[in-house]
Symmetry: D3
């Protein structure tokens, strides 16, 4: 199999099938139109420019199109760019499919489903177990395919489910260390905390915000769903209010979009677990792009910090 | 009728039936127990101390008890205090009822109900009209009796309904001035924006926060209710999402507890109208307690500012 | 009459007389000069680029020049742009005048003058009335022609006077709702609050900041003028200090350029009325440029928010 | 001469004539009234309590009364307190005068006047010189007697003039080091920067804020005075606007009460000189109260920091 | 064994040997001295007051004295208080020792030492291993006895070592989940991150800040020690700089006292692990004091939040 | 001697030898490579563009190369630019050396060394004197050549030493004014405060941050060095901790990178002196580029303010 996009060095020649992730039209300062495209395969994505684009080309190189590109990896102000030398749309004979080029979670949808099911199975509190199972079932297909965000972290196919599984495993380890934690509540909160994303975002690929996503947001969306589910299932009891609180408060601070700060121990821990898993994902992805002894690009979601990759790491 | 509590000058003698609004036990620095009580009649409330209280007295002077008090109005560090000289619980022969002593809105529950009903009647958008009428009906009793808050503004019986009516009247005037505003949306948003308080707070008198109020908050509570009501009434359409957005965003900023900032013109205006009505209420109540040429106490909810009452006001 | 500039759809052809509002020289990345021009008629303004401009062209296309332009409306990253196909300076035979193309307030200078005069006439406090009339008379010509700002809101001919009239009407409606407000003080504060702009800004068209505007600012400028006017008219009394306070504090917070926060009820309300009128103006202008179901451009002065135009508005 | 108040150690006996700086009535938690008094002589002030005060005593021990007090210096939570054992009002036979007990600047009014006059004399720019001399003359008596503030720094008789003289000397030294500074502008700005305090504050002793001080503030007060003075003296020219800017911006930031940030080099330096002189005054006064090896009380105006007095200082 | 202090209910009678943790002298508002003492046994601490204390009593009831106390547990404004009925100093015959009453870590010093030694043993990077072992050995006695802080979290005997062991166990679990983490670096950073506390604080019991602690702080203290140790051991290499960075940045933000934000992946994770362990400790201690269905006291170090203890926890 | 770079007016022709300070490769929007170069001589620096650069040219025009350039000074958006008409690398026959073109401090290395030595000589405290002399000697060569920063202020050859000398002179003047200041401590703190820059930065010309500079920072670097030096010299005593504190806290606030706020009087003054000298340097450099009656470019390190150059300055 050919070496994938991000496994090439700066200066190296590239000849690959790639997927157009986004394409933005611009007018160059010589008055001619150009396209800024983000091209990707499973290894990650890179920016490139198509100069002097005709109207026909603009139509040809839409998002979600597969193209064959020859070019060279450049480093422009510390960011990688692909200088395109040749480009053509792929055709059926090429035998390349969108799913071959999409970045996806490192574990399959089936594994995700199985692991989450196992965690639900382990719950002992029937109210939490029933409501979690009910909502997961209702949105299972999307849950297993959506990314966890449009950018920043876990922004790939099945990113949402993968993020949840990582958090569950981390929660289990932490709850072993601190046995006073209510594992059922924590698992239920983790499984549901971002489930509103399946309504907030447009779909598994090239996700954008829906009107409802923009105006209501994934937090309030799923809190409403928990309330409706409890009514449908006839569940009464403090678990519902507490579970809604865990979801409401999982961004940790009002200014980060949670209308309440955590006021339950498991809510505080859920927020911290979310934080660790998101940051590890961002850091691993950024550090993958640099060599030991170098600094990464500035990472916006980490206070615009740049991270150093030590030379002595094993 | 006797001169009411707050109509007395500093230094004046007082002999009145008053309602205990709250009673907090303390241990004085001589080791003896005392009670800090807030006493009120319709004109407002005042703090007083009961020294060297026996256990029996503590039981006697519980919140929501009517007492007959003789004493004197003092000024302690710029705040009024009542120095109690004599106190006894009232008895049936006194013929004084709790409702005689509660501060209430300046218009009756019936007027409030009538005015709100009229505004709903004027709406032309059937989706907004039906959902507003449905929820108001569901919580009408509490809506007409609850305060709008536990402190700061409209913290009296029927304060919630009175606040809504003032805002509706203000909205009507503003919409006349700026005809591009969607009056139906604005009216509906105003009527529902604080309706979650009937679940957030414990009741019409001496309101405290419920568990659900603390953990979920009135904003999310009523947003959920709007969602459920739309389902029950079979209403579909963007009105529901937009109306939920108006309620979600009515605190104006994330750090003030709204999980979304206003992104609809009417949401922005609803926030501003809420602001004006709350501030006018706070200012009028604080200025009522001082004379021309004086400054009010610092008002916590107005950035701890102290306001001056000019000497030349008509 | 031809369809005006902003009434064209994206993609539509345009052939209009337009006024150059500003022209900024740049050097394109091919090393050749170009001009970024803002073109306007009464309906609003749009950005356009002139590529490969000769020195002669740069001289020809100065601000405040009328040009005839043929081109096409584009959408570039969510902002409208005009792609120029042909351009020439207008000549006397075209019979087009600058005043035909300037965006102006929706009511005439005469109407503004008449309305403000009427409000002054209604005042009962002679001190406030005299000082307001005196200062208005002193700066009347500029007051009726200047914009209220260089950008953000009411940035058009007679914008200052129009903003004041809108605020006066709003104040009247609010004072009807809250009769404890001192209308004379509020009217006087509104009429004078931004009058310093006639010294802060350079003139009615293409306004920039003067040295005095930059170093002293419109707030301190007019506060000084009030002091001088009181001396000249021999007015003594608290009204002067209180009126100066209303003007000083009308930005509402220290960090927004007011050296004092509002400490008078009418000062607080003046700030809120200013806020509402400025925001309604910004929102209406931004929403006019989008269709139902779309979001506006981000509005810098509204915390960089983007606003949604619902599909169901009447 | 007897050892002064603050020259006593903790635990030492005290028998002194002292001036009551302030007296605040309280109700003790045993229900009996008490007075918290601040007592001072030239060495500084100390807090003390008078327990079980009769109405007569409250009248006797008003601010600005001289008393003879015997007692002991205590240390209460890191603050000095005077435990009063005996107290009586002074009588004419005691031969003690208020001026004997007031803390005053370390140099006399005459010296202050002479030094400021000398600095004005050295100015070469006639516009700056004339306007400075005019305003100083207008307010000279108060300028030489007022404190620079009600608390925090230079809060003693002649504190304002002393602060100005210290700043002038410092400015001269700094301008020698950085000859590009315009000394005339800097001297004029320093002399006038706080002159508005003579209207903002009530008087030289036990100063409080006047209505005008509260609503307008010393910055705007003196900026207005500069404008009026320029008119009276017929001075035209950029010096007036620039001088007003120096005064307007001398608090350095909008949130510290300046409506403009410094935009002139001398304005920036004036702000920094003000800062150094105020901080040195606060630090010297706080460190005077502790011994080497100890920390001072927290100083509110220095971000609530506590400062350490090294043991090795010469 | 008698029921320990915090295992008593509100209202219950107490008769116990307790240790005086701190004793602060006050003057009551009747003018008489009193003592506020914090009394503790292994279960935790409680506040109490001693009224009308003679000088002799003040000397008797110094910190670190053992007393026998009879009294009753009260609830005062949501905080527990002990109302003392009888108190006497313990004598040798009582057979009670300070160490019987000190709150200590739930695991012994020996276990802490063994676990930390084991983690050092597992390291593969010799530079990190040697420097960690060297510094731990140098300060081992204090490391095993000091608290981790004077208040907020792990403020008990051996708190520092216990905090480090908990963090190491958590780090091991997290590194299993995210194998890209450099475990050696993480372990070394955890073991050393707070080791400067042994110089910053005064000792294992009733710890206060030393001069060096106040002026330099534990972060800079141990960073210096790492530098010196590297010199002494002749270790060169990037490990030293990176390890110093982990310690420097472990507070996470500049405003929390780290002069650098984390710029190494393991530094970010170290900060998060520290956060989790400190918060779990604070939350468990606060929740231990309330019953299901109640809210804790506000916890200053958790943004002053109050936490709810659900009724349904297993 | 030819007129130097920044002494030319906008529009004037330039023909000079200049040094390339930095060269950044870009891809123009026509797809062709270009270089953005910063060119300098002793008078300062200016930006220029080289269009359509070949690979050969990119190699030719590296940083620290001397070039001969003919062109014209332009004003682009308020910033000066040099429009290059001709450019060639210099050759040995030109007889121009790098040192001829580097901006350097206005006083020589020898003068700097002499002045600093004199200040050390004046110290009376032997501990402070010995440690200061020791560290200065250790890093003397770099101290005399390094800039004080990579940008913002004193970013020229010998900038570090020049900044220290200016601060020492200023400190001497201030200590004369406030004799309670410990001059020895202040001088020692000033000499050492930025000495860590010789390790933080890469060298005297075109300085960038080293790995150690990025991860540890100049503050912690030199604090460690002070600790080691005290050990080597066998100096004990509070001077070491206090001197380390002065260096640690010299940025004044935690959020500006100091792990402790100043808690010693001399630490506070050191911070203020640093502030004045840095600001004067920035302001003089910015104002040198504009004419009277103009505003400077916005200065990032001065809160992005733009400064006005009055027309009346002597």
């Amino acid at each position: 199999m050919a070496k994938e996009l991000l496994h090439h060095e700066v200066g190296e020649h590239v000849d690959l099938f790639l997927l157009i992730k986004s394409a933005t039209k611009g007018i160059a300062s010589n008055g001619k139109p150009f396209l800024t495209v983000i091209l990707q395969d499973r290894s990650g994505d890179i920016e490139a420019k198509l100069w002097d684009t005709s109207d026909e080309q603009v139509k040809l190189y839409q998002p979600e199109t597969i193209v064959r590109v020859a070019g060279e990896i450049h480093n422009y102000r510390g960011r990688l760019q692909l200088k395109i030398k040749q480009i053509r749309p792929s055709n059926p004979q090429d035998g390349v499919h969108v799913s071959d080029l999409l970045e996806t979670a490192p574990i399959s949808k089936e594994e995700i489903a199985e692991k989450v099911t196992q965690y639900i199975f382990e719950m002992k509190n029937p109210n939490l177990q029933r409501i979690t199972r009910h909502l997961l079932k209702k949105y299972q297909t999307a849950f297993l395919e959506f990314p966890a965000a449009t950018k920043n972290h876990h922004e790939f196919v099945s990113g949402l489910g993968y993020h949840v599984v990582s958090m569950l495993d981390l929660a289990k380890a932490i709850a072993t260390q601190y046995p006073s934690l209510d594992k059922d509540l924590l698992y239920s909160g983790i499984i549901l905390h971002d489930l509103g994303k399946v309504i907030e975002l447009s779909g598994p690929v090239s996700a954008t915000y829906t009107i409802e996503g923009n105006l209501i947001g994934h937090i309030s969306i799923i809190v409403n769903e928990i309330g409706k589910a409890a009514d449908e299932l006839g569940i009464k009891g403090e678990e519902i209010v507490v579970l809604q609180h865990l979801v409401l408060s999982h961004h940790g601070k009002l200014e980060w979009g949670s209308p309440k700060q955590p006021m339950i121990k498991e809510a505080e821990i859920l927020h911290l677990i979310d934080n660790i898993d998101a940051k590890m994902n961002m850091l691993d992805r950024a550090l993958k792009r640099v060599k030991p002894g170098e600094f990464t690009e500035r990472i916006f979601a980490l206070d615009n910090r740049s991270f150093y990759k030590p030379t002595f790491h094993p």
